[in-house]
């Protein structure tokens, strides 16, 4: 088979490109108040707008939305209160997008303003956003592992710092959008730009009062997610409702401004951190007080609250640790999971404090981290079973790549380390069902058709899964096709979040492929009168392993023989992690079948007069287990490097006088090709026993150490203690911010 032609950009439609006969267009009306009681809402002017066909408000949705059962606090459309500027208020369907917009603009709502909660720093003192949480805290989690007070009492040195991590947002290039079609037979089809088709299926069904079996969710091509498309959103549900009202397909595509309101981005975090170092330079103890700005609703915030503390220590061995983590409600768009969910902020704090400690103790920051590294098969104090760890090798790679470099005037190199889960071991909704399932069918034509529920969002999931199938079957990858992201066609998969797809769906597809392989070899063995165990699959052929040139048969013949023997040649596989939760409340949040490890370094040039920082190089060494698809892993490392660069230096998505600001790409400012440092990415490849053919995650973990590596480099170059992200040149240039230069300003080596 010749290699397939290159993917041509326009071939697969994104949701905004879909058109159906009779389709109409929807737009949303949104709150202009940060915090207010909603006195009344009048849809009549909207319905009187030319071209408008239907309109709905919060009364159409009796149930509250929210991914986590215990914290369903978010109305589909505001009912009696609005809690952030941009919160969905009403939705209008019309014959054209313009008419829908005009209709939405004429929805009349009356508000009684309430005092808004604009910062998380006054936690406990504000007007509550939700009655159930009088102190505005979604969850207050405190966990302690090992003798923390003793470790601080016996420390050789104790360091403390307060760190602020600014909110940022995903800014996937494709805005969210949906086409919903209530069909005459009484089923709802939903095409949506999502990372989690099955989650949307169940969520939309619940909020519409339908059975999940009545809802089919299909993902067209998805233009990036990064965590921002992993919940059930108002626009998905209102489009469904409007379609049901009209009996016509409804398309609703968010504007870029609306994407900023939809948010679910990185939680702003305020972290008080203490570190105890022992006589042998070991980490005796860590103690963190973490406050997370969750915005107006819970979303996946419960997970964030735990992750921020549970991942405090990894990738290092820690004698004892404790944390208190609180997620606070404010009148801002809800925060949520963004690439490296929950652990990016805490990584910044820990890696900064470690670097300060290294300077003060005269330790080489890289060699010190190496001495602290978690090794394979260790179990952390909070019960995380590490599996394989390539962390030491990651640090060695960083040392090797940065060793020959000289730093000139105003230049410095910073390093940092991290670890991340390869999928959460326990699902958001507790159950013992498989997390991933796969069906593989051998077609008479010699193709293998894989059916999986995962969503391809640009991360290369399908190519990776196809590669795993191909390798199990000894065939080239282009022999394997994938059908995915359709809840009617595909078995349940939890979705493309928490870096779970390669490991979990990967194990499922391998099991399916192994079953097909067995069927083919048994059929061929039967025919050739040899034991199936002595046979092997090579490209396009079944051969005798010891005598590949001898008797055998073509692959298509083997498939035909198997069909004669057993009917349809089909294999299935499923995967559920065999992992125990930690034996304490919250012990299900944190464990994973495997952990990836990353070390990063950044070289910066600092101009003290302008406070300007230029990142000239980023090095990433990532342990993703065995790299199934090196090009895709490499692309993820590049993506993580640039997203980390953006978070460290330029991106901030916060409130300005109660309004999300900025709400446009131009003002928000993600890295461009001109901000591009030299990126040096290497993969540290070593098989993990829990991974499919040894693979672990590569999509999120590599971002974690990039931000602190940049911060550590700037701290060294500028002689400042960097405690806030994003770095602002105002802070860096202001003389008052220029503390006494840190002593022992050793270069990296």
């Amino acid at each position: 088979m010749s290699s397939p032609p290159p993917p041509w950009p326009w071939t697969d439609p994104y949701v905004a490109d879909l058109s159906l006969p009779g389709m109409v267009f929807a737009a949303m009306a949104r709150s202009t108040h940060a915090h207010a009681a909603l006195r009344s809402i009048d849809l009549a002017p909207a319905l009187a707008t030319p071209g408008v066909l239907a309109a709905v408000d919060g009364r159409a949705f009796p149930l509250m939305g929210g991914v986590i059962h215990s914290s369903r606090d978010e109305p589909v459309l505001a009912v009696d209160r609005v809690r952030y500027v941009g919160e969905p208020l009403a939705a209008v369907a019309a014959v054209s997008p313009e008419a829908a917009k005009a209709g939405a603009a004429s929805v009349a709502a009356a508000f009684d303003p309430l005092p808004p909660v604009l910062t998380m720093r006054s936690v406990g003192l504000d007007v509550p956003l939700h009655e159930e949480h009088p102190d505005n805290v979604l969850r207050d989690v405190a966990l302690e592992f090992g003798p923390v007070d003793e470790s601080f009492a016996s420390a050789r040195a104790v360091f403390a710092g307060t760190y602020h991590y600014g909110a940022s947002t995903h800014a996937a290039l494709e805005p969210h959008g949906v086409v919903a079609w209530w069909r005459p037979e009484g089923r709802l089809w939903v095409w949506t730009s999502t990372q989690c088709p099955h989650l949307v299926q169940h969520g939309v069904a619940r909020l519409m009062g339908l059975e999940p079996s009545a809802v089919r969710v299909i993902t067209p091509r998805v233009g990036g997610g990064f965590g921002g498309k992993s919940e059930v959103f108002s626009h998905e549900v209102v489009a469904a409702r409007l379609s049901m009202l009209l009996g016509r397909p409804v398309r609703l595509i968010l504007s870029r401004e609306e994407v900023f309101y939809t948010h679910r981005g990185r939680h702003e975090a305020l972290i008080d951190l203490r570190l105890a170092v022992g006589a042998h330079d070991e980490i005796l103890g860590l103690d963190a007080d973490i406050i997370l700005n969750g915005g107006a609703y819970a979303g996946m915030g419960l997970v964030t609250t735990y992750y921020a503390g549970q991942f405090l220590g990894i990738p290092y061995r820690v004698g004892a640790f404790r944390f208190r983590s609180r997620r606070v409600f404010t009148n801002a768009p809800p925060a949520g999971p963004k690439r490296g969910h929950g652990s990016v902020q805490i990584r910044f704090a820990v890696e900064r404090l470690l670097d300060r400690a290294a300077l003060s103790l005269g330790l080489n920051p890289l060699a010190w981290r190496m001495s602290l590294a978690l090794k394979s098969d260790e179990t952390t104090l909070n019960g995380l079973k590490i599996g394989s760890s390539g962390f030491t090798r990651c640090l060695e790679e960083i040392a090797r790549m940065t060793a020959p470099l000289q730093c000139g005037e105003g230049e410095a190199i910073g390093v940092a380390g991290s670890a991340y889960i390869s999928g959460a071991a326990f699902p958001i909704i507790p159950n013992r069902l498989p997390h991933s399932q796969a069906i593989l069918r051998a077609d008479r034509s010699g193709l293998f058709v894989l059916t999986v529920g995962v969503a391809e969002i640009g991360q290369g999931a399908l190519e990776t899964l196809r590669t795993l199938v191909a390798q199990t079957l000894g065939q080239p990858t282009d022999r394997v096709l994938a059908v995915a992201g359709d809840t009617d066609a595909c078995p349940v998969d939890l979705g493309s979040y928490s870096s779970r797809v390669t490991l979990m769906a990967g194990n499922a597809v391998i099991a399916a492929a192994a079953a097909v392989r067995r069927q083919l070899l048994e059929a061929a063995g039967d025919r050739l009168a040899v034991a199936p165990e002595s046979l092997d699959l090579v490209p396009n052929r079944v051969v005798v392993r010891e005598d590949p040139g001898g008797k055998g048969m073509s692959l298509t013949r083997a498939i035909a023989r198997a069909e004669e023997r057993i009917g349809t040649v089909i294999g299935s596989g499923s995967y559920a992690p065999a992992v125990e939760p930690g034996p304490y409340p919250g012990g299900a949040l944190g464990p994973s079948p495997a952990f990836s490890f990353t070390a990063a370094a950044a070289k910066v040039r600092f101009d003290p007069d302008l406070g300007a920082v230029e990142v000239t190089d980023i090095w990433i060494a990532h342990d993703c287990g065995r790299a199934v698809n090196l090009a895709r892993v490499n692309a993820q490392l590049h993506g993580c490097a640039l997203m980390g660069l953006g978070e460290a230096l330029m991106e901030q998505a916060g409130l300005h006088r109660g309004i999300m600001d900025p709400v446009g790409m131009l003002d928000y400012g993600v890295p461009t090709a001109r901000d591009l440092p030299r990126i040096h990415a290497v993969v540290v490849s070593a098989a993990d026993p829990a991974g499919p053919l040894g693979a672990k995650e590569a999509g999120e973990g590599p971002l974690l150490p990039v931000v602190p590596a940049i911060a550590n480099a700037v701290a060294r170059a500028a002689g400042l203690d960097i405690c806030a992200i994003p770095l602002s040149s105002e802070d860096l240039v202001r003389p008052s911010a220029r503390e006494t230069p840190l002593s022992g300003e050793a270069a990296l080596r």
Binding site: H170, L173, P175, G458, A631, H638, G639, A673, R674, R678
Partner: protein, 156 residues
């Protein structure tokens, strides 16, 4: 009446074919292409000139179509990525991007392709600096710039 319709018509050449539309006075070329001309290959990422997903070539110059009013395009030659399906240079660019792993979610790719195509027609052998400068208007949130630059530098 007939006269008024005549006045409102804007004629241009789109992907090699003559095309006339009757746009609203404030209609952007992006809206016209997507809604009136069936060009689903031109993407809307921001609608404010920031992302480059809507990039098309107007008289061989790559521009964000969301910043251009359709009424200003009378007599122009407009090329979108779909119009380059058989163009040898564009095919080479597309293949190089794909091979380098620079097509991830793909939402930026059609715009990047137009920018690169227009660059190579002006500058046959661009160096890396030139390429990154030329690509500045095309955001790739999947972070593929380095892979793109590498791939395009290899074509020069």
């Amino acid at each position: 009446m007939a006269n008024r319709i005549q006045q409102n018509m804007v004629a241009f050449v789109l992907n090699g074919r003559p095309f006339s539309v009757a746009p609203d006075p404030d209609e952007t070329l992006l809206e016209t292409l997507r809604q009136r001309c069936g060009c689903a290959d031109v993407k809307k990422g921001c609608d404010e000139g920031a992302c480059g997903a809507c990039t098309v070539a107007i008289d061989d110059v790559a521009v964000p179509s969301c910043l251009v009013l359709t009424v200003a395009c009378a007599g122009s030659r407009i090329v979108t990525s779909a119009g380059l399906a058989t163009d040898p240079l564009a095919r080479r660019i597309g293949a190089a991007l794909a091979e380098a792993g620079a097509v991830q979610c793909g939402f930026c790719t059609a715009g990047v392709l137009i920018t690169a195509w227009s660059m190579f027609r002006r500058i046959p052998s661009p160096d890396r600096d030139t390429i990154s400068r030329e690509l500045t208007g095309n955001l790739c949130r999947c972070g593929g710039y380095d892979l793109m630059v590498e791939a395009l530098a290899g074509l020069g």
